[in-house]
Symmetry: C2
Subunit: 278 residues, 2 copies
């Protein structure tokens, strides 16, 4: 009944470790962080820990929050040209004086382990991308682990962000699902979400999706992580929805660990493709 | 009741003519054709005629059907580097020994007036593309001419091709519509299409969509052009559906002329952007 992302991510981690043991030089990634946002620091540190446990080289490139666009782009161009770095991500959000879209698109798409460049978004939609955005990739991996069928099923995605909702469209179409995308302007959301065989929610509103929004027997994936009075809640009201859903992800322990482990998988994808090109 | 694409395309053509009169040098495009497919020849000739009437320079680059990938790519690279050519398209389909996806992605995205490169597909989905795939662009232009509202409306797209269905997703999300994509694997298609406020059909099956597939008062856009016993039919059964729809496009005279005129608009977009960069 519960799709345990934590457990699956640990299994994938062990497999990655075994593969990386055989490799020399080791795969290597850089995470660029700008400023001192405490949530970002927590995320970066947990990526660093996981990367090192797997056996990757990890560089935490930390910049002052007043860094210029030029300086960041110089760093990215250095990374792009380096033979020993396989992947890079820019930890979001970054300060408002920086154009995040412009900066991300300076990343060489072959090192774009977050799958956020326009080229990789386009590849994913129109054909196949080797580097797929981590949260969507993690969701598909988790659903497949639990043998959830896609073909001919109706996937309803709530949320249309470049990080989650939009890349999910291409992934689910590639799996031959019928796909609906809802968002803040959707009228009568519950009426649409109730059609879902698979409901994926990524909007950032605690407990938005109650049992009234879900068809009995649906598969429900909760991407939200909302902190309310010091406690973590998903976008789905787990208590009521878990009684109606066939399968559901918890928060925490569902999509979150799948996102981070998918990033680690992408490092290896990028490493292997760099090797092939040599 | 009928959305007249022919009429609107003529209006746009007159506006383009007036703009082009003032320009020196004239905007210029190249259409690459491989082989002698008669339908392709008809399409290329009608593009040539329209382009010249508007005042564009037009080159019909015709290659033998046995042309090598290298030779085609050389031509594209020449066009990419030319200061006097603003746009290029490869007339599809091309013979099977050629990798269409690879060839199209050799086009410099700033000259990709068909909007088919992966980079432009990604831009359209994740932010904004200046060069948008012609059929989807023409459809949006036509619907706006008839004051069809998008925000909060449910758009159902039948067909997931890179030319029509997929770019429509990004365009309709940018217009704040709720979007559903159906295709050959969709179960109980009529049940899904009946939810549509705006139904767009692009599958290439004559009269697939009958009145049973359409909600009363819906707006119906028919992208199909199917030749059966020498006669042209859309994907929509016009006779029965037109009685139920609030607005509908005819075949021919609906989406077809909007596609070609949108290509001509893209030439001017590309021309103006090249000028700005100089």
């Amino acid at each position: 009944m519960i799709m345990n992302g934590k457990e699956l991510s640990l299994k994938i981690k062990e497999n990655l470790k075994k593969e990386v043991e055989k490799l020399d030089p080791k795969p290597s990634l850089v995470v660029i962080q700008v400023g001192e946002d405490p949530a970002s620091s927590i995320y970066v540190n947990s990526k660093a820990k996981l990367a090192r446990e797997i056996g990757y080289e990890f560089e935490h490139a930390k910049f002052d929050e007043n860094v210029s666009e030029e300086e960041l782009i110089q760093k990215i161009e250095y990374i792009n040209s380096s033979d020993s770095i396989n992947g890079v991500i820019v930890q979001l959000p970054i300060p408002k004086h920086l154009d995040a879209n412009k900066i991300i698109n300076k990343i060489n798409p072959t090192k774009d382990i977050d799958g956020l460049t326009e080229l990789n978004a386009g590849k994913l939609l129109t054909s196949k991308a080797s580097l797929v955005s981590c949260t969507p990739k993690g969701i598909i991996t988790l659903l497949k682990e639990y043998n959830v069928p896609f073909e001919g099923k109706h996937v309803v995605i709530v949320g249309r962000s470049n990080l989650v909702g939009k890349p999910l469209i291409g992934l689910c179409l590639n799996e031959n699902a019928t796909v609906t995308v809802c968002h803040s302007k959707t009228k009568d959301l519950a009426k649409v979400t109730k059609k879902a065989d698979i409901l994926i929610v990524a909007v950032g509103k605690a407990k938005l999706i109650t049992a009234d929004y879900v068809r009995k027997g649906a598969v429900v994936v909760d991407v939200g992580i909302n902190r309310v009075d010091g406690k973590l809640y998903g976008d789905v009201d787990f208590e009521s929805v878990s009684k109606k859903a066939k399968l559901i992800t918890p928060v925490p322990g569902g999509v979150g660990p799948m996102t981070t482990i998918s990033l680690m998988e992408n490092v290896l994808v990028s490493y292997n493709e760099m090797k092939k090109r040599r």
